[in-house]
């Protein structure tokens, strides 16, 4: 490694050396010399707009802005001469003439750089006698954000965040000069998944969170360091807690994960924690309804039911909302106490799909995404599924990286996508084969329908010549009718380019559940059951080391009457499984259903016993992210009523069954796991083990449209939805809005549907009512319907025996002729 060249300069008489390219501001800050700033933010290039950071440089006639000035050899800088002071005072005075100084009622009070700087560097008096700039009082910019233009000091941080960091151009400057204001076009709700970050970096109280307005002062908050578990990226967060309530979530810096950012699901998604719907006591079914009961009674009942059956007639589904320790104890409980191998957290997997054949997760490190020179997104809607990863990719695009997308719906980030191959359902495999062929240098076998050959060749060329390519395959591809083919072609393409395939699948702590062994066919740590058998026996006593049934097989077994008891832990099968009808059939034949959850989900409503569980923000322990990183969660609040942690519930149940699962706390469990799971350590990454990819079966030729159902359903993801947790976080529920589906304008025209108007989507199986969104981001003949809206469950439309779901869309109120 070559030495980075350094320069030597003097600041306030101190001789300093700094790397070449460092600014005077940075050099001073590193030496502990404080220079006030507003517009400069260290994650963005300097702007030099606020002019607060003035310094005096010897031999330069004018004061200089230290944030833009590169440190040079022999430079002599002063930060506190009377001239500098006068300059800074002048700037502060200018900033304050139009600032309302409503600090006592401003949410930023107490953590406001403007307040602090004024105190430290301000003139302490004002000569301003004129009327201040006047804007209509705070305006709402959608469910999350409130803008108070009077307080804005036009530092442009928020605007530049949207341009440089998020690429969503959500907030912009309008008008100019003294009329300049930050806003959205026509003050419409802000379109962003990252707006919380602008609240965090606004140096005044101009941008505030609706959910935090007038809630708390910084000194009343107790910060609790934890990890966000809402999507799987595992961003480092800090919950601010006041009393028994999380008042807000803030980003914690983690250079390898989220840097200093979060997405809005992370910022505003915590509110469900103290929702009044939380389960507080165990419930038991009695005479058709539920009654509250004691833990003692609930556990006895479950124990007695378990006592009347044999291990293999019991199964467990769920686990993605558990901590690593919970999941591990669950594995132990079911394999060693109950004696069943039928456990699986992949409740949303389609039977027979490649979902079940691949390990979920990323081999590529999150931080390395920023260094990629070519990113291929295959059926992977990155901003809807793992939003913070996009921020890294955005950095890569700034460096010139090429993004290639093979998806049935154009991505929200399409402006940054160099080649978007928008394909028909069932054609993704063909596109991938052609792309893989082209990378290999052979001419594409056949140009898939509607796909441009030259574009394919150009994309393949970019990929082939990339030295740091990143390939991601997502759920839309794996669940597609030609999912096996997509997977095989993607794998082939990765082999050709010498990179690995990242399987962008699994939410919450799905990765921890995998690592902890909540799978039918592997032991904790991903080892073969047979290999781990003796160690497990040593730790747990006798257990079953057979391979059990996968989640879809468990449902089949239930439908066939092969199960006596099903445990559902931290999952809402009614909404999560791909085919709701199968779940109904399964439930109908199940003699006994136990649900352990934080809310009375649809699934819980069908249970025989419901056990109230804590959520991640109420637990101590660890979780594992999509890149396999193990991180701490900490109990920010203690949880409602008698709700208990999941592993504690299972330990108590084990005791009823006469077995001992005794741990003093999460650390003890974690230590035990370390013995069984190679590589497990706090902030370490567990490897994602990819089994050899299965052979592609013959691509299933999608059946043709059946009479009356002319359109193809594409189920997909939306970051903001209304599921069990999100519908109970008001900001997220509002951001999600009512259930919706996306139609091509041609199809909308045929059925006379108008944008935003209600439509009914019907398949041979069932129907859902949603609002139409009309856009050419989907191809004609397709309807995109996001999962995750409990009020319009996609799985009511789907029959998993059919590779393709055909639907009909009807406008409820035909659009008025325009």
């Amino acid at each position: 490694m070559s030495e980075q060249p350094t320069v030597t300069l003097t600041i306030d008489g101190k001789a300093l050396s700094a790397h070449k390219g460092t600014t005077v501001y940075q050099a001073a800050t590193r030496a502990g010399i404080e220079i006030p700033i507003f517009c400069y933010h260290d994650r963005m290039p300097p702007l030099g707009a606020c002019r607060m950071c003035l310094v005096k440089v010897e031999k330069q006639p004018k004061l200089q802005t230290s944030c833009t000035l590169e440190a040079a050899d022999g430079m002599v800088v002063y930060t506190d001469t009377p001239e500098v002071k006068a300059g800074q005072e002048a700037i502060l005075e200018f900033l304050l003439i139009n600032h309302p100084l409503d600090c006592p009622i401003c949410d930023k009070g107490g953590e406001c750089p403007l307040q602090d700087q004024t105190y430290k560097f301000g003139p302490g008096r004002s000569r301003f006698v004129e009327a201040k700039r006047d804007f209509a009082k705070p305006v709402s910019l959608g469910p999350a954000l409130v803008l108070d233009r009077e307080r804005c000091i036009l530092c442009w941080r928020c605007v530049r965040f949207g341009e440089i960091i998020a690429g969503d151009d959500a907030l912009k400057g309008f008008e100019r000069g003294f009329s300049s204001e930050i806003n959205t076009p026509f003050t419409l709700p802000v379109q962003s998944k990252f707006i919380g970050n602008t609240i965090a970096i606004c140096p005044v109280g101009a941008l505030t969170a609706k959910s935090y307005r007038f809630i708390s002062r910084p000194w009343d908050n107790r910060p609790v360091q934890s990890t966000c578990t809402l999507c799987g990226v595992g961003c480092a967060v800090e919950f601010d807690v006041r009393g028994e309530r999380i008042t807000r979530t803030r980003a914690r810096e983690h250079p390898a994960v989220n840097d200093i950012w979060l997405c809005d699901l992370g910022f505003f998604g915590h509110a469900f924690v103290d929702h009044t719907d939380r389960l507080r006591r165990p419930l038991m079914r009695r005479e058709g309804g539920f009654v509250e009961t004691t833990w003692d009674e609930a556990l006895s009942q479950i124990a007695s039911r378990l006592g009347r059956t044999s291990g293999p007639r019991v199964a467990m589904l769920g686990g993605a909302r558990l901590t690593n320790e919970d999941a591990y104890v669950a594995t132990r409980f079911f394999r060693a106490v109950v004696g069943t191998p039928h456990l699986d957290h992949r409740v949303d997997a389609r039977p027979q799909s490649p979902d079940l054949a691949v390990s979920w997760g990323m081999g590529t490190a999150i931080a390395d995404l920023a260094l990629a020179d070519c990113v291929v997104l295959i059926g992977c809607d990155i901003t809807e599924t793992y939003p913070v990863l996009w921020l890294r990719m955005k950095q890569a695009t700034e460096r010139g990286a090429t993004i290639i997308a093979v998806t049935p719906k154009a991505l929200e980030i399409q402006r940054f996508v160099r080649w978007q191959f928008l394909h028909r359902s069932g054609q993704g495999g063909a596109v991938m084969l052609a792309l893989a062929d082209a990378v290999r240098g052979t001419a594409p076998r056949e140009a898939p329908q509607g796909i441009d050959r030259t574009a394919l060749a150009a994309a393949a060329k970019a990929l082939g010549s990339a030295s740091r390519p990143v390939v991601m395959i997502g759920r839309t591809a794996l669940d597609a009718p030609d999912g096996w083919q997509m997977l095989a072609a993607s794998g082939e393409m990765c082999r050709k380019t010498g990179t690995e395939l990242n399987v962008m699948r699994g939410k919450g702590n799905a990765f921890g559940a995998t690592a902890a062994g909540l799978l039918p066919d592997v032991a904790p740590g991903g080892r073969a059951l047979a290999d781990a058998a003796s160690e497990l026996r040593q730790a747990w006593g006798s257990l079953t080391t057979e391979a059990g049934m996968t989640a879809p097989e468990i449902l089949d077994a239930a439908v066939a009457g092969g199960l006596d008891v099903l445990f559902v832990i931290g999952a809402d099968l009614a909404n999560d499984v791909p085919d709701r009808e199968r779940w109904r059939a399964a439930r109908a034949r199940l003699p006994f259903l136990v649900v352990q959850d934080a809310f009375l989900t649809e699934t819980a409503q069908m249970a025989d016993v419901v056990l109230p569980a804590l959520v991640a923000a109420e637990k101590d322990g660890t979780v594992t992210s999509i890149e396999g990183r193990v991180q701490r969660v900490r109990a920010a609040v203690s949880g409602p009523g008698d709700a208990r942690g999941d592993w504690a519930i299972l330990a108590a149940l084990a005791a009823r069954l006469g077995k001992t699962i005794a741990y003093s706390g999460w650390e003890e469990i974690f230590n035990e796991m370390r013995g069984l799971i190679p590589g497990l350590g706090i902030d370490e990454r567990l490897p994602v083990r990819h089994p050899p990819l299965g052979k592609p079966s013959e691509p299933e030729r999608p059946a043709s449209a059946a009479g009356g159902f002319p359109l193809i359903l594409i189920p997909g993801e939306a970051l903001f939805d209304r599921g069990v947790l999100t519908s109970r976080s008001p900001t997220i529920a509002d951001l999600a809005g009512e259930p919706w589906a996306m139609l091509h304008p041609d199809d909308a025209g045929t059925i006379d549907a108008a944008d935003g108007e209600p439509v009914v989507i019907t398949s041979a199986r069932g129907s859902v009512a949603v609002r139409a969104r009309i856009s050419p981001v989907v191809l004609p003949g397709h309807v995109f319907l996001p999962r995750g809206y409990d009020a319009a469950p996609v799985n009511t439309l789907i029959d998993v025996n059919e590779p393709v779901t055909f639907v009909q869309v009807r406008a409820l109120a035909p659009a008025a002729p325009s």
């Binding site: 151009d169 959500a170 912009k172 400057g173 309008f174 008008e175 100019r176 076009p185 026509f186 325009s818």
Partner: protein, 178 residues
């Protein structure tokens, strides 16, 4: 929205001719966003002002965020975000014109048109605006009506000029009203 001109209908305020013109402008530049200012004039000329739909249309054709297009448009003085009259009068009020009595001319226009600066006559014929130096100081005091320059103004001369426009004998084809 706009009476009397044929083809429109994509619901975003831009005809396919306008879209084609914007695409032509984009093709002139190594980076298509360079055509934005000119494209906004295409939209403004077609719709009469930059309605949200017109802006959306430009954003769509140019594949730019609507927020960016609106933000850019709002920076410049020559875009209208509200409907304007058939003739936009811009009276220069900068130094040379001020020294030559533009105040009197402006006052005269206000009285005669019975509107204030920034307003449009009820018959939607004239919109009155002030302008910074229009680089025609040798003609001070001066004004532009639409694209036409009128200089060495006196109240009498203003009257004569206005009559010409009011009579519909303006040298240019009339801009469309909203």
């Amino acid at each position: 929205m706009n009476a009397g001109n044929g083809e429109r209908g994509t619901g975003n305020g831009l005809s396919s001719a306008a879209r084609a013109e914007i695409r032509r402008l984009m093709a002139q530049f190594p980076e298509p966003q360079s055509a934005l200012l000119d494209a906004l004039f295409v939209a403004q000329e077609e719709v009469g002002y930059l309605s949200p739909e017109a802006i959306r249309g430009v954003a769509e054709v140019m594949d730019l965020p609507e927020s960016e297009v609106t933000s850019v448009a709002s920076f410049y003085h020559l875009y209208h975000f509200k409907p304007v009259g058939a003739h936009v009068i811009q009276v220069c009020t900068n130094l040379s014109c001020a020294l030559n009595g533009c105040g009197r001319i402006l006052q005269h226009l206000k009285t005669r048109l019975k509107i204030d600066v920034g307003q449009t006559t009820p018959d939607r014929r004239f919109t009155l605006k002030t302008a910074e130096c229009l680089a025609a100081c040798e003609l001070a005091p001066m004004m532009l009506i639409g694209d036409d320059r009128h200089g060495q103004l006196t109240p009498e001369k203003v009257d004569a000029i206005l009559t010409r426009y009011a009579d519909g004998r303006s040298p240019k084809p009339e801009a469309r009203g909203p």
